[in-house]
């Protein structure tokens, strides 16, 4: 479903993605972790071309993402993206936030789009907040709206860039619950996170990155209990003691 072939990317001199080769099959839940600055966010931001790559290829559903002829609108409609800082549109209500893409990108009639949007809001448990503005919601609620906004285009892939890092501890659970439900529906997901509980519970595979390279991959059980590299075990002990 998603494939990285010898992908390289530099920010000026910094080699942020160093020869990445990766295959993510349909329905897989992949958790990506690693120290800050290891390139994990960049990795998933390349999948819907929020970032450009300098070498190699990324293929999503047989479409080369970084090809000039690629229909980006169509591609991005198939990929939902959830940001660390939510990035809800502050001037629109919750419902308008969710409806925006169906109405303007897919050109669905407003009434129909509203119906779909309300379904998605129900899925994240926020139907009653549909008329509220983002500023009136808690961080956890905002992030759930952001997930609904990602889901509304019926994507086959959902990308999450540290979805719980900006949240107060007591709100992390509600967001993770929504994500766990998505997993049970068979969604293909890439999640950049340090939430070990989430990884152990639902991830098919954990990928550990450092300095732009994939250092280690394995099942959550293998990775957390028996890491193969020193860097990975050092990292795990740090997030455990913190």
């Amino acid at each position: 479903m998603i494939e990285f072939k010898n992908v390289n990317k530099w920010f000026d001199k910094l080699h942020v993605l160093n020869d990445i080769n990766l295959k993510i099959p349909k329905g897989e839940v992949l958790v990506i972790c690693g120290p800050s600055g290891s390139g994990k966010s960049t990795l998933i931001r390349c999948i819907n071309r929020l970032e450009k790559i300098q070498q190699g290829q990324i293929i999503v559903n047989d479409t080369p993402v970084h090809d000039k002829s690629t229909n980006l609108t169509k591609l991005r409609a198939e990929i939902g993206f959830v940001f660390q800082q939510f990035h809800l549109y502050p001037h629109m209500t919750v419902l308008q936030n969710v409806m925006l893409a169906p109405v303007n990108v897919k050109k669905i009639a407003k009434t129909k789009a509203e119906k779909i949007a309300l379904e998605k809001l129900e899925q994240v448990g926020l139907t009653e907040k549909s008329g509220a503005y983002p500023a009136q919601l808690s961080g956890g609620q905002q992030q759930r709206v952001a997930i609904a906004r990602g889901l509304v285009m019926s994507p086959e892939i959902m990308l999450f860039d540290e979805p719980t890092s900006a949240l107060d501890p007591e709100m992390i659970g509600e967001v993770l619950d929504v994500m766990v439900n998505l997993v049970s529906e068979g969604m293909t997901m890439c999640v950049v996170t340090h939430e070990m509980g989430f990884a152990k519970k639902v991830a098919d595979r954990v990928l550990f990155m450092d300095e732009g390279k994939i250092v280690e991959t394995g099942t959550p059980g293998e990775f957390f209990d028996n890491p193969q590299t020193d860097r990975a075990s050092e990292f795990i002990s740090k997030i455990l003691t913190h």
């Binding site: 993206f81 549109y89 502050p90 001037h91 990108v105």
Partner: protein, 222 residues
């Protein structure tokens, strides 16, 4: 000092001041409307990325911002006739105010657009919105809220700037003070009255600007 402040003379000149006030209002409103249009056009050109309209827009904005308004007024007042264009002083003045404030407004609008968080644009991109849709649906509505308070601030500046038109003998508020001074030689009464009227306009516009500051700015609350 203020003991022999002569209210009787002020009363006598009040009709003149009111005409001046009306003229100042007229000049300000027309200039603000024209400056806003100029500003929107100049800003669009500047951020367009098309070289042959971008650079003229930058040149216009930077030249206006680095020369005094009074010089711009004189440039048009003494310059237009040499080109064979003879237009009334008041129109010259409005033209100068429009060109001057237009450049500042262009920069205010540009700052408003730039103030929209990068993440907002990325969210729009991720949803598959194209450039025009992102501008129309996400960036401009948010930029508007950020832009209105400083635009109102620029309007305050413009009203005060219109006083300089008295120097090319446009009969507005400040000119009335000069007239009264030369006829009666009572500068205290004349200019304090003028100042009083400007203060009234200032407080009204300031209240409006402060109110818009509180009301209109959307914040992405984390």
């Amino acid at each position: 000092m203020l003991v022999d402040f002569n209210f009787r003379v002020i009363l006598e000149y009040l009709p003149l001041f009111l005409t001046g006030l009306r003229s100042t209002f007229f000049i300000a409103i027309v200039s603000i409307a024209l400056a806003l249009i100029t500003g929107i056009i100049a800003c669009s050109c500047r951020i367009s990325g098309i070289k042959f309209i971008k650079y003229p827009a930058i040149a216009y904005i930077e030249i206006v911002r680095s020369t005094p308004l009074l010089v711009q007024i004189y440039f048009l007042y003494f310059g237009l006739p040499t080109l064979g264009l003879k237009i009334p002083e008041i129109q010259t003045g409005i033209l100068a105010l429009m060109l001057n404030s237009g450049a500042y407004m262009a920069e205010i609008i540009r700052a408003g657009i730039n103030s929209v968080d990068e993440g907002q644009i990325e969210a729009g991109i991720s949803s598959g919105l194209n450039y025009v849709q992102r501008m129309r649906l996400i960036i401009l509505p948010q930029a508007l809220g950020v832009t209105i308070p400083p635009l109102l601030g620029q309007n305050i500046v413009l009203v005060k700037d219109s006083a300089l038109l008295s120097l090319i003998s446009v009969m507005e508020l400040t000119r009335c003070g000069q007239t009264m001074t030369s006829e009666r030689f009572m500068p205290t009464e004349a200019f304090l009255t003028v100042a009083f009227f400007y203060m009234c306009i200032y407080f009204c516009l300031k209240a409006l600007a402060d109110w818009s500051q509180r009301k209109l700015i959307f914040r992405e609350a984390y």
